[in-house]
């Protein structure tokens, strides 16, 4: 019995069960660094993205406070594209 095959299959079945896991992404399309406040699992953290940087931050549901003070709720599958003051949520 080929142990590699065995390992691959067990890992594969685990993978199949968890294949749909993602995280929310923050993409900074502007020229200046951008900071958002993320409240996840009861903890408040600051997440900063440098210009043209992509950061992943939220696995399963969180609240974010955008630079404009506006609050949004995310489920963990969204992409936040911030260009200066404009925020696009996909």
């Amino acid at each position: 019995m080929n142990t590699t095959l065995k390992a691959i299959l067990v890992l594969g079945s685990f993978a199949a069960l968890t294949a749909s896991a993602h995280a929310a992404t923050l993409v900074n399309l502007g020229d200046a660094p951008v900071t958002i406040v993320v409240t996840e699992d009861g903890q408040r953290n600051e997440v900063t993205a440098a210009p043209a940087e992509t950061v992943q931050f939220c696995m399963a549901g969180c609240f974010v406070t955008l630079p404009s003070g506006e609050r949004q709720a995310l489920t963990g599958t969204e992409t936040l594209e911030i260009t200066g003051a404009n925020v696009l949520i996909k």
């Binding site: 019995m1 067990v10 069960l17 993602h22």
Partner: protein, 831 residues
């Protein structure tokens, strides 16, 4: 009594109160505003949020009261998590509403040019929209605070559960009260309570709902029987012992063990679970009776399964079918011991459920723990002293030292703990050991099944495999691959079910296990690199799919498109190879990008190594590029007769690195492509299979040369395969030392027939020469030993033999025979 840890709820309560007050203010303020006619869409969402916040507050108030009940604490945690999720989902629902409000605000502002004051109506509308926005924002703020509070509740609950667990384990009670009169009276009281409840329920149900009960019983029974019959029919070949003969294979034994333990248990489970479900749907049960029945049925199932499993593994009546070879005398007692262990554990679980339902006093819990630990330890110690194996000489052999020591330890330590008063710890330890061992044993059998399935030819030799093979008409190789797949699947299933079961037994939550597994599979961080196993596996799968698709496409293209077009075979092969390589390249690129592997780091490494690799691989790369050029330019194609590097042969295959040529002696020569590009390559069949045949003929000086020329030309013209155009030509080659040399040159259409044509022509030439008396002596192949011109003019008979040939002159020097022109034997016909 037991000390309960004093929990500082004040801070949590203050937070709860604060945000609730804020939210109440928001609600008040919002409802005080002038309401637009008709409800706003965000009202529904705000209501959802309010409900969740109320539930959270209620939860917070409840927690203090349930500090002693682990089940209720767990439920509180689940409720808090649900509330948190619902808060987030509700908040997400605000997003489209908010977008709508913003759009309307922009639309309103746009109607008035910049700088001018806004008219009242527009201003009022803008104010209204802003109010709504503010309300939504406030709701979001309180929802966010709500999630924070939920998290702190969850954390508190976790802390309380840990404290409860520690206190249970470390509490030391006096067990003397267990043996007092008072305890026995309490036991009798609880027993009467139980019987009272059960009889009252039973009499009520029988009097008023007897019909439904009977219906439910019959339905459950028939479902279970149907299941049992169907499964037995399906697995009968594996279960019937005589089919295996006296020495069944390992796979057969394992399959039989699995089937004979799982299937009856499954049938019983169908019956019992069906019974509960039907009773509940027919509304025959009270809540307390439901708990009791569920606990009872669970225990019955557990004990039944353990007993069947022990029987299947140890098989007292069929020694050849055992999975573990134990002594015959020991098999039945072992089964009894193991079943007894199951019964004791099951009984303990059942009594625990009963005391939960009846709210039994604490002293009974201790008594129960003591009883359970004592019984279990006795059984384990008895098990340790069993001698199940046999030495080659025939005397009894006990367990391996380590196992025996372990069994004794697990038996004695809880006993000592109980003696010292640590009843909670003793019970916990024993219960954990017994249940975990049961799960591990079940998993081992699962793994053994999987391994046995995966062995080559194993499945084919069982009745079951034979049945499957004939039913679905599978070849042997197919059945083997099916067996391999089944084996791998079994490994996976056992692992996926067994490991979380063990973890849950030791206190991990299923949600945590799933979360941790997800994190592990999708995000392993090493420094700044994030590896996702899931993505890699998906990348591999996609590459394999792409590879097979490109192979299929290549085949289809060849069969359907290229076969119908007029492209010749060599070009078809080239196109097919090129398409195949392109397909593989695309599949690799797609697979790598799906796997999320960042190729830029590869590029860096590749750049650094490129110098060394370049030097080392230059020949290979040169061959590779030459191969591509050969495929594109096609100086020769498959089936051509080429001459390269001194090798003559037919091209069999043009690969990327080398070309395979088959010589006429059937040797395969692999020539690197760079040789074929850099040196001259002769291709006999490059444009056509036309070839010129040159036949050297020598006649003696006395022959009639004009007649010779006519004969030669006639022979060539007469041969059916010799072409008339270009016309055969007889060349007068030279005045040789011994004879006149001619050469007959004619063309034939098919190069590969030249040997036959040459031979025919030569036979014909000599026939005609001899028929006409042309002096044919001193032909190059037939140089006789001996004198030269002395033999000129010797008369010949019709057969062409010289009459009266003089014997060779022994004094004359032997003339060297000119080397025969080495004509290669071409392969007849095209390959």
């Amino acid at each position: 009594m037991i000390a309960v840890a004093r929990i500082d709820w004040r801070i949590v309560k203050v937070r709860l109160a604060a945000f609730f007050v804020v939210f109440a203010l928001v609600c008040a303020w919002w409802s005080a505003q002038a309401q637009a006619p008709g409800a706003n869409p965000e009202d529904v969402v705000i209501t959802r949020i309010t409900d969740q916040l109320k539930a959270l507050t209620a939860l917070g108030d409840r927690i203090g009261a349930i500090a002693q009940d682990d089940q209720k604490l767990l439920q509180a945690r689940i409720d808090a998590e649900a509330a948190s999720r619902e808060l987030i989902n509700a908040s997400v629902a605000f997003r489209p509403i908010m977008a709508d409000i913003n759009a309307r605000l922009d639309a309103a502002r746009v109607t008035v040019p910049e700088g001018e004051p806004l008219p009242d109506a527009v201003q009022a509308q803008i104010n209204l929209l802003n109010t709504r926005k503010a309300a939504i924002n406030a709701a979001l703020v309180s929802a966010e605070d709500g999630t924070v509070v939920a998290s702190s509740v969850i954390e508190r609950v976790g802390q309380m559960r840990r404290d409860l667990f520690t206190s249970t384990l470390s509490q030391r009670v006096s067990i003397r009260p267990v043996f007092t009169q008072a305890v026995w009276q309490e036991v009798r009281a609880e027993f009467f309570d139980l019987t009272r409840r059960v009889t009252s329920w039973a009499t009520f149900t029988l009097r008023f709902k007897a019909a439904s009960m009977v219906w439910a019983l019959m339905l459950a029974l028939s479902a279970a029987l149907a299941f049992a019959i169907v499964s037995r029919r399906f697995f009968a070949p594996a279960l019937i012992e005589r089919h295996g003969g006296d020495n069944p294979s390992y796979l057969l034994r394992v399959l039989s063990a699995t089937a004979s333990s799982l299937l009856p248990t499954a049938a019983l489970a169908v019956f019992l679970i069906g019974l509960i479900v039907l009773f509940t749907s027919f509304q025959l049960l009270r809540p307390d009776i439901t708990d009791l029945l569920a606990a009872l049925f669970g225990v019955v199932l557990l004990v039944f399964f353990i007993q069947r499993l022990a029987r299947a593994v140890l098989r007292p009546s069929a020694p050849a079918w055992r999975l573990v070879s134990v002594r015959q005398a020991v098999a039945a007692p072992l089964i009894w011991l193991i079943t007894a262990l199951g019964v004791v554990t099951g009984l303990d679980l059942f009594l625990e459920a009963v005391s939960n339902v009846l709210d039994a006093p604490f002293s009974l819990t201790i008594g129960r723990s003591v009883l359970f630990v004592v019984l279990n330890s006795a059984l384990l110690i008895a098990l340790a002293f069993v001698r199940p194996f046999q030495t080659p000489e025939g005397s009894a052999l006990g367990w391996p030292k380590a196992l025996k020591g372990l069994l004794l330890a697990v038996g004695l330590v809880p006993l000592a703990a109980v003696g010292l008063g640590y009843a909670g710890f003793a019970r916990f330890a024993t219960q954990q050991v017994v249940i975990t061992s049961a799960i591990i044993v079940a998993m081992s059998i699962g793994f053994m099944t999987a391994r046995a399935l995966g062995q080559e030819n194993a499945l084919r030799q069982t009745n079951f495999g034979h049945m499957v093979q004939t039913r679905f008409a599978l070849s042997d190789a197919r059945l083997d691959s099916l067996a391999l797949v089944a084996s791998l699947a079994t490994y996976a299933i056992v692992a996926i079910f067994g490991v979380p079961l063990i973890l849950m037994q030791w206190g991990f939550q299923l949600a945590d296990i799933i979360l941790a597994t997800t994190r592990f599979m999708t995000d392993i961080r090493i420094g700044s690199v994030s590896i996702s196993i899931t993505s890699i596996l998906i990348g591999i799968v996609i590459f394999l799919i792409g590879y097979f698709l490109s192979r299929r496409f290549e085949g289809w293209l060849d069969q359907n498109v290229l076969a119908r077009s007029r492209i010749d075979r060599g070009a078809r092969a080239s196109i097919r190879t090129a398409v195949g390589y392109a397909g593989i390249a695309i599949a690799v690129l797609v697979g790598v990008s799906v796997a999320g592997i960042d190729l830029s780091s590869f590029a860096l490494v590749a750049g650094a190594l490129s110098l060394g690799i370049g030097f080392g691989l230059q020949n290979i790369v040169s061959n590779f590029v030459s191969g591509l050029i050969l495929l594109a330019e096609r100086p020769f194609k498959e089936g051509d007769w080429i001459e390269a590097a001194g090798i003559n042969g037919i091209v069999k295959k043009v690969s990327v690195r080398a070309t395979e040529i088959e010589t006429f002696q059937k040797q395969s020569v692999i020539l690197p492509n760079s040789n074929l590009i850099n040196q001259a390559v002769g291709n006999w069949t490059h444009r056509n299979t036309l070839a010129r045949v040159d036949i050297a003929v020598g006649v003696s000086y006395g022959a009639d040369v004009i007649r010779v020329q006519e004969i030669l030309r006639a022979v060539a013209l007469d041969h059916p395969k010799a072409l008339k155009t270009p016309a055969p030509f007889v060349m007068f080659k030279s005045f040789g030392a011994e004879r006149l040399e001619f050469e007959l040159r004619f063309h034939i259409a098919d190069l590969f027939e030249q040997v036959g044509v040459q031979t025919d022509v030569r036979f014909e030439i000599i026939r005609r020469f001899r028929a006409e008396g042309v002096d044919t002596r001193f032909m190059p192949e037939e140089t006789p030993l001996g004198g030269l011109n002395e033999n000129a003019g010797v008369p010949t008979d019709h057969a062409g033999a010289a009459i009266g040939v003089q014997p060779p002159d022994p004094t004359a020097a032997i003339r060297p025979v000119p080397a025969a022109k080495a004509e290669p034997l071409p392969k007849r016909g095209k390959s």
